[in-house]
């Protein structure tokens, strides 16, 4: 297997192609530019003979693969192209007519040349109506514009040593059997939505480490801002409580109060939506940190812990079906919402949730979504609401949905999707070289049971490959089958590197609770 760091490595040219390029350079590439024709779907064909049907010069067949000799523009089928190379010296390189890909007749195999691909793609982009605007987009896709590479700060995940010391000291008090950090939260009146999201957030590796490393110091915070209410201080307090070793259920009253101040429109004892709460908490954290740092950076560049952990960048390409013009926009996001396909009860792709790269028809255009930059923590929100226009009601979709524990996001990256749009091209994308890999591991699932108006949220946490159910104040060990069978509402994935780090952390001692099931404090069943 090739090196894991770069997903696509440019293959080396064969001897014949290298010789050919030495002799002729780009001349022949440029000369066939006029013969390249682009179909609206993005494929490039070699179409020299617009009136005649292209046929093999030897056997006259016109079906299947045909190769176009770069030197003399003659056409050959795969069987007979060798004859041509043998009879004419120097005619070793040809192009597959239907795919615009290079073929070496002596190696009898496809070969790759980034320079050739650049010519093809630039031609494709030039062909699109819309002129210079789309050209810029195309060049961006070519990777010729070097934009700032966004480096996510991995520092927050790596400094566990300090937290280990803190935690192991308190470990002596712990009676319980479960990993540290697992603690029930009391329900303050329909606040299961809050408890479930808090459990997931506090165990997200970047946030967990942030608070354990005391990155938000409450004393300094109060001195600095003088404000009584700081959402981050409150989360810090909860985090300390969770990791204190005390297993009695904790009451996050102060946090609830702070959050009510922040989102006064949601301040009530009614059931709230967990996803809405999640967004509002991230927003609150962002606001708080912006105030502290006095910076109002937009989401893409923001260095607040919420955005550092959750922020990704979505790319949206809207293409007009009639004229082929594409406009590309980038939007930052903190999570991805997915629609449930109610008609698709059993499909071959049942082990994958429906991804946002489906093409949606919007009048005469089609929209292609892809992910330009992956976040550290990926939050997937499953929309379980179905609006019936006939009955004018909304109801919850109770269907079970399978989801993977390990997720590879490579096919949804912009680089993958843009690459496939232009056919089999060799590109160097400046964001291709993955410092952050596209492999994710799940660590939390928020499941909902019941109806739309009145239901109950629980969180399933995966710590060191063991699943735990966090149902308000009650924590219990569960089988992964239970998790899979739950009605998942929000899925939290973290990049595999951070997940593996968390597992290897040896300060967490895990003893099975089966030894003393009743000899534990309340909240640990």
């Amino acid at each position: 297997m090739c090196a894991r760091n770069s997903i696509y490595t440019t293959p080396k040219p064969c001897k014949h192609l290298a010789d050919y390029k030495l002799r002729h350079g780009f001349n022949t590439y440029y000369s066939i530019r006029n013969c390249l024709k682009t179909t609206p779907n993005g494929r490039t064909r070699v179409a020299k003979h617009t009136t005649k049907i292209p046929r093999c010069s030897f056997c006259d067949r016109y079906q299947g693969r045909l190769y176009f000799c770069l030197m003399c523009s003659s056409l050959w089928c795969p069987t007979h192209i060798l004859l041509h190379t043998q009879s004419e010296k120097g005619h070793e390189v040809a192009i597959d007519m239907n795919r615009s890909e290079l073929y070496c007749c002596l190696c009898c195999d496809q070969v790759y040349d980034p320079d050739f691909d650049k010519v093809v793609v630039c031609n494709q982009v030039k062909d699109l109506p819309g002129g210079s605007k789309s050209k810029t987009n195309g060049f961006e896709a070519c990777g010729e514009k070097s934009s700032k590479r966004k480096r996510l700060d991995f520092g927050i995940g790596l400094d566990l040593k300090k937290s280990k010391l803190l935690v192991s000291m308190r470990d002596r008090r712990a009676k319980s059997c479960y990993p540290l950090g697992l603690r029930g939260l009391n329900n303050l009146g329909s606040t299961c939505f809050m408890n479930s999201v808090l459990q997931a957030l506090l165990h997200a590796p970047p946030l967990r480490n942030y608070f354990l490393n005391d990155r938000h110091n409450s004393i300094q915070c109060r001195k600095r801002s003088g404000e009584k209410l700081c959402l981050l201080c409150d989360i810090d307090a909860i985090s300390s409580a969770m990791f204190s070793g005390d297993r009695t259920p904790y009451t996050p009253a102060h946090f609830l109060y702070s959050w009510w101040q922040h989102s006064s429109n949601l301040a009530s004892y009614e059931e709230q939506d967990a996803h809405e709460f999640f967004i509002s908490v991230l927003d609150g954290i962002h606001e708080m940190e912006s105030k502290i740092r006095n910076s109002g950076k937009d989401d893409g560049d923001c260095q607040c812990i919420a955005h550092r952990a959750f922020s990704g960048l979505l790319r949206s390409d809207v293409t007009c079906i009639s004229c082929g013009f594409t406009s590309t926009t980038y939007d930052p996001c903190v999570d991805i919402s997915l629609n449930m396909d109610t008609s698709n009860l059993s499909s071959s792709n049942a082990n994958k949730p429906i991804k946002p790269d489906e093409k949606t028809e919007l009048r005469d255009s089609s929209k292609q979504l892809s992910i330009r930059r992956l976040p550290l923590v990926l939050c997937l929100h499953i929309k379980r609401v179905e609006h019936s226009l006939v009955r004018k009601i909304s109801r919850k979709i109770n269907q079970y949905m399978q989801f993977p524990f390990s997720l590879d996001m490579t096919p949804y990256l912009s680089s993958s999707i843009v690459r496939s749009k232009f056919g089999n091209r060799i590109f160097t994308f400046e964001y291709d070289n993955s410092n952050s890999s596209a492999a994710y591991e799940i660590f939390a699932v928020i499941a909902h049971s019941g109806m739309l108006e009145s239901g109950h949220y629980v969180t399933y946490l995966r710590l060191k490959n063991q699943w735990y159910k966090c149902d308000d104040a009650w924590i219990s060990e569960v089988d992964e089958g239970i998790v899979r069978a739950s009605q998942c509402y929000m899925l939290f994935y973290v990049q595999k590197l951070l997940y593996n780090e968390a597992i290897e952390d040896s300060s967490f001692v895990h003893i099975s609770p089966r030894r003393d099931p009743f000899d534990s404090t309340a909240g640990c069943s």
Partner: protein, 111 residues
Amino acid sequence: MKHSVNRPPTPDGAEDQGNEPILQEIIKIKLIESGEKERLMEMLRERLIECGWKDEMKALCRAYVKKKGRNNVTVDDLVHLITPKGRASVRDSVKAELLQRIRSFLTSAAL
């Protein structure tokens, strides 16, 4: 008389067989000339991706390359490998749709 009277008559099959390939040829040429073949190919590509056929073929190729080693495989090898399996695993619905499109093309081209 030198030839046998009992010789069976020349079967009609021979004549039909003589005509069919020519008709097929004409249809194919018409499809290409009118550009319909391109459109059909695009539609076919879409369907094959949708139903997961492309992924299946990709997986087959990957497995083969893994076995043989990346530098020991040519495009021709892969094509020969997956052509029979590929042809066999195309969904009937896709075939039916393609036939339907060709039929409607023929009626519209008034052949």
